[in-house]
Amino acid sequence: TVGCVALDKEGKLAAGTSTGGMTNKKYGRVGDVPVIGAGTYASDVVAVSMTGWGERIMEAVSGHTVSAYMKHKPASLEEAADYLLREVLEPGEAGMIAVDRYGNMLMDMNTPGMFRGMSDSEDHREVAIWK
């Protein structure tokens, strides 16, 4: 699975995810990626792309959970990610990337690793694989 979230100069947020699914998947199994609100979601508050165990990410309605938590709690992106990855999902189940409307960037996971990278107009640039 690959994903990207972005905030542009007009302040618009977008999220995208693409995947080959799960090795040996059977008979039309659909994972979280194409389920809007689960593996891929963008609102006026945050853009989110998930990766990991699709069934668990769908059951947690993950992308929308992050956006709603930020809006209604209210909470920061970091607090919302922490809630999703450490209170809702179990260890080893998922990784997520997100960017909020202020340009705060997040790469977080409860798995041992995630191929990831981030960059912004203030020259914060990072590529990583493990925790």
């Binding site: 699975t1 690959v2 994903g3 990207c4 979230v5 972005a6 905030l7 542009d8 100069k9 618009k12 977008a14 999220a15 995208g16 995810t17 693409s18 995947t19 080959g20 699914g21 090795t23 040996n24 998947k25 059977k26 039309g28 659909v30 990626v33 194409p34 389920v35 809007i36 593996g39 891929t40 979601y41 963008a42 609102s43 006026d44 853009a47 990784g95 990337i97 997100a98 960017v99 409307r101 202020y102 340009g103 705060n104 960037m105 790469m107 996971m109 798995t111 041992p112 690793g113 995630m114 191929f115 990831r116 990278g117 981030m118 960059s119 912004d120 107009s121 640039r125 590529v127 694989i129």
Partner: protein
């Protein structure tokens, strides 16, 4: 902050004893994916264009499980999924079970921008692609040796497990009403 960009190439158990050359190659590819998005955003391009172009780059890279390099299904084929969403308009497009589209993210964006629907699945998604100007490939395009070997291993594990467990133990756990704890729904 004028613009911001975050990418991923999949999460899970990634072997720490990966050869240095492979580790460097992954890091270089992730850096190049960032450059694709940076160029668009620096130039005032839209977040949607950045997302589509970065993911197209990653779909074309056989190292990642998307587009070329996708994993194998149980039946030995490739079925791809993709989705894109714009936050300001809250519009979205998604395709699932795609078999002959080189860059599923581009078809997902077409669904969002040119159809009245959000998601197309399987044969319907393929028929929608027939109506759009989107690059088509055959299933061999997605093949990589590494994913093929992973698929063969998974099939062998399945067979080994079913021969050990036998059919009787593969029935679903009893419903909660019968004292089971497996979720149904």
């Amino acid at each position: 902050k004028d613009w911001a960009l975050v990418i991923h190439g999949g999460a899970g158990v990634i072997s720490q004893d990966m050869a240095d050359s492979v580790r460097q190659a992954y890091r270089a590819d992730l850096g190049e994916a960032l450059s694709v998005g940076e160029e668009i955003l620096k130039g005032g391009g839209s977040s949607l264009d950045a997302v589509e172009q970065v993911i197209t780059f990653l779909e074309d890279n056989p190292r990642f499980n998307a587009g070329k390099g996708a994993v194998f299904t149980h039946d030995g084929g490739h079925e791809l999924d993709a989705a894109i969403m714009a936050g300001d308009s809250r519009t979205a497009g998604a395709v699932t079970g795609i078999r002959t589209v080189k860059n599923p993210i581009s078809l997902a964006r077409m669904v969002m921008e040119h159809s009245e629907h959000v998601m197309f699945a399987g044969e319907g998604a393929e028929r929608y692609a027939d109506e759009r100007d989107v690059e088509r490939v055959n299933q061999d395009y997605f093949y990589t040796e590494r994913r093929y070997r992973a698929w063969r291993r998974a099939i062998k594990e399945d067979e080994a497990q079913s021969s050990v467990l036998g059919d009787k133990d593969r029935s679903p756990a009893p419903a909660p009403s019968e004292g089971g704890d497996r979720k149904f729904g």
